[in-house]
């Protein structure tokens, strides 16, 4: 029974997708589409922008990397059309949107398994529990050496790398691991550019850091992934474990937020539809996990009907997986 509905929705959505992509290809559009926001979602948006460029070469698509928070500020100031977000919109941002009558569409595009990585030559870390992660990263943490985490580990300094405060990944990680969004120790190498984090960890034996799964995937042979024990034993993030939710609590959906007014412009609408149609393939290509097909079909519907608003007024990140 379930299989039948699944099959039906797949067929429906692919027909949908074909018609939509055909109509977009039919007319040559012009204009600009401005994206900005999360560095986690950036690889997907970049891929979509690149592919879209071959279909609609006269539409100028730009993708910035200011971090989810930075992107939302621009989004609410009307400076960009689409915000890449690796976390749902915050209450404060929602208030601002409401007060300025900015309608937006919230579209999930993929699953990410936020990954904790260490240097390739790190021989002692086999896994980390959530409480150990909390101990290392919490505000006012006194952990300076690896042995402060587990006495059996070497008494050598630990050096931390992570996203900056404008990053949705930062918000999500701190909320999930430390209990409050933004609560983190400040003495680590912070960068909105995950590539810089990869470079740093890669060359530093004492390093540990966290970022989106795609950045680990792209650098698998030079980094070491740390399995996380969320209460059910250590699980490493893979396509399967992220998809079925067993990589917890660090699995999360990532989104794009589209300004409703921007959809008045045909090039933005075409781009948004193209994004959703190609999200399954392209997100998988860059290393994220596609969502179930009905989610994308749903999203296309919402674009068609201009359904604004956020599906969840998520107070805690754990609600995220449950809600969808």
């Amino acid at each position: 029974m379930k299989l039948k509905t699944l099959a039906k929705s797949i067929v429906l959505s692919s027909v949908f997708a074909l018609t939509f992509s055909n109509s977009a290809m039919a007319e040559k559009l012009r204009g600009t589409v401005a994206l900005d926001g999360s560095s986690t979602v950036f690889p997907i948006s970049e891929a979509v922008a690149e592919e879209f460029g071959s279909v609609q070469p006269r539409v100028r698509v730009t993708v910035g990397v200011s971090g989810t928070g930075g992107g939302f500020k621009k989004f609410l100031a009307g400076e960009i059309d689409i915000n890449d977000a690796s976390r749902p919109i915050k209450a404060k941002e929602l208030e601002m949107a409401a007060s300025q009558s900015i309608g937006f569409l919230e579209i999930p595009v993929a699953y990410d398994g936020l990954s904790v990585v260490v240097n390739k030559n790190n021989t002692w870390v086999d896994h980390l529990t959530v409480s150990e992660l909390n101990k290392i990263w919490q505000r006012g943490s006194t952990v300076k050496n690896w042995s402060d985490v587990r006495p059996s580990w070497p008494n050598t300094p630990i050096r931390l790398y992570g996203p900056g405060t404008d990053s949705g990944t930062f918000d999500y990680f701190t909320e999930t691991i430390n209990g409050k969004s933004g609560a983190s120790r400040p003495d680590y190498t912070a960068s909105e550019d995950d590539n810089a984090l990869v470079q740093g960890i890669r060359g530093d034996k004492a390093a540990m850091g966290y970022f989106g799964f795609a950045y680990y995937e792209a650098n698998k042979d030079t980094l070491k992934i740390v399995p996380i024990d969320g209460g059910k034993g250590p699980i490493a993030p893979t396509m399967t474990t992220i998809n079925n939710g067993s990589y917890a609590p660090l699995s999360r959906p990532v989104f794009i937020y589209i300004r409703e007014k921007a959809l008045d412009r045909p090039e933005v609408k075409a781009f948004a539809e193209f994004y959703i149609n190609n999200a399954p393939t392209l997100s998988a290509e860059v290393g994220y996990i596609p969502l179930p097909a009905y989610v994308y079909e749903n999203a296309l519907n919402r674009i068609k009907n201009r359904e604004v608003g956020t599906a969840y007024y998520a107070k805690t990140a754990a609600d995220l997986l449950v809600a969808k």
Binding site: G67, K73, G164, T165, D187, T189, A190, A196, Q199, G200
Partner: protein, 307 residues
């Protein structure tokens, strides 16, 4: 006939006068743009910095040793950034000053005209290489080489940045010092040689002291340039404000902070935006003071010779 000519020429003269006045005003307006630029720079830096100092006491900023502007609890002591900048500058000066000065002495005292014609263009080439290329060089060449010497060095480290910035400002010292040394009249050299001095003694005891003002000025200008250097340190030196004494670790300079915070796309308003201006203002003031001192040194200590 002559009266008509007179009238025409007076009219023509008047037209010429007004045209002349207009053009002179236009040109003066252009000159004014440079004044306006300075005024604007100072105004904007001051305005945003003052609103920053409404939130953060100036003494906290200037004397605080913890730069955590974006986290909570936040701390706005700029000393770690200043220390990072000074570390890079010190290392760069250590490289650039000896090599630059030695090169200048070689060019003015020892080199044949043919040698000059080879070395001078090479120096100009070195000076013309964009700083982002030096950043690339630091990351892809210098750091790996350093790793073989110091295995415990981090990927982002201060030493790599210093070396590269040193190479970058060394042509400046070489060229300006060479100009200063060449300006020393030959009669001084010849009289020293006549008294039996060796070339070493002439160079170090006569020529360099005579051209000292220009040489010192070149040092100051190079240091000012090193302080303001952005791209090489952004790529190579890291993003961790800290006050450690070792060159093997990652640091953050004032310039790198300005670029790295939201990679330049900071939304307007808010404390993060203001920290950019506070740090930029500090940078501006430091380089301005250095530049003014170097000009003063040039003017004040320039020895004049009757020749």
């Amino acid at each position: 006939m002559s009266k008509e000519l007179e009238q025409v020429s007076i009219l023509g003269g008047q037209k010429l006068y007004w045209g002349e006045f207009l053009i002179k005003s236009l040109l003066a307006g252009c000159a004014l743009i440079s004044i306006i630029t300075t005024v604007v720079i100072i105004t904007i830096l001051a305005k945003e910095s003052f609103s920053f100092f409404d939130h953060v006491p100036f003494t906290d900023f200037i004397l605080g040793t913890s730069w955590i502007p974006l986290f909570e609890p936040s701390s706005y002591g700029v000393l770690p950034l200043l220390w990072g900048t000074l570390t890079i500058t010190f290392g760069a000066a250590l490289i650039a000053i000896p090599i630059g000065l030695a090169t200048a002495i070689f060019l003015s005292e020892y080199a044949s005209p043919k040698m000059r014609s080879i070395v001078k263009p090479l120096l100009e080439l070195l000076a013309g290489i964009p700083t982002v290329v030096y950043g690339y060089f630091a990351l892809t060449f210098v750091t790996p080489v350093l790793k073989t010497i110091f295995p415990e060095i981090q990927v982002f480290n201060a030493l790599s940045g210093s070396i590269v910035v040193g190479i970058m400002v060394l042509p400046m010292i070489a060229t300006l010092s060479d100009n200063a040394l060449r300006a020393v009249p030959d009669s001084l050299r010849q009289s020293a040689y006549a008294l039996g001095a060796t070339s070493y003694e002439v160079s170090t005891k006569i020529v360099v002291p005579a051209g000292l003002s220009g040489v010192i000025a070149s040092f100051l200008l190079a240091i000012s340039r090193a302080i303001g250097e952005t791209m090489a340190v952004t790529l190579a030196a890291g993003a961790t404000p800290n006050m450690s004494l070792t060159f093997l670790e990652s640091i953050q300079t004032m310039t790198a902070y300005i670029v790295q915070v939201s990679m330049g796309d900071t939304p307007a308003g808010g404390i993060a935006y203001q920290t950019l201006f506070a740090v930029a203002a500090l940078l501006f003031v430091i380089t301005l003071i250095l530049n003014i001192i170097s000009q003063w040194v040039l003017k004040r200590y320039q020895e004049t010779y009757d020749a």
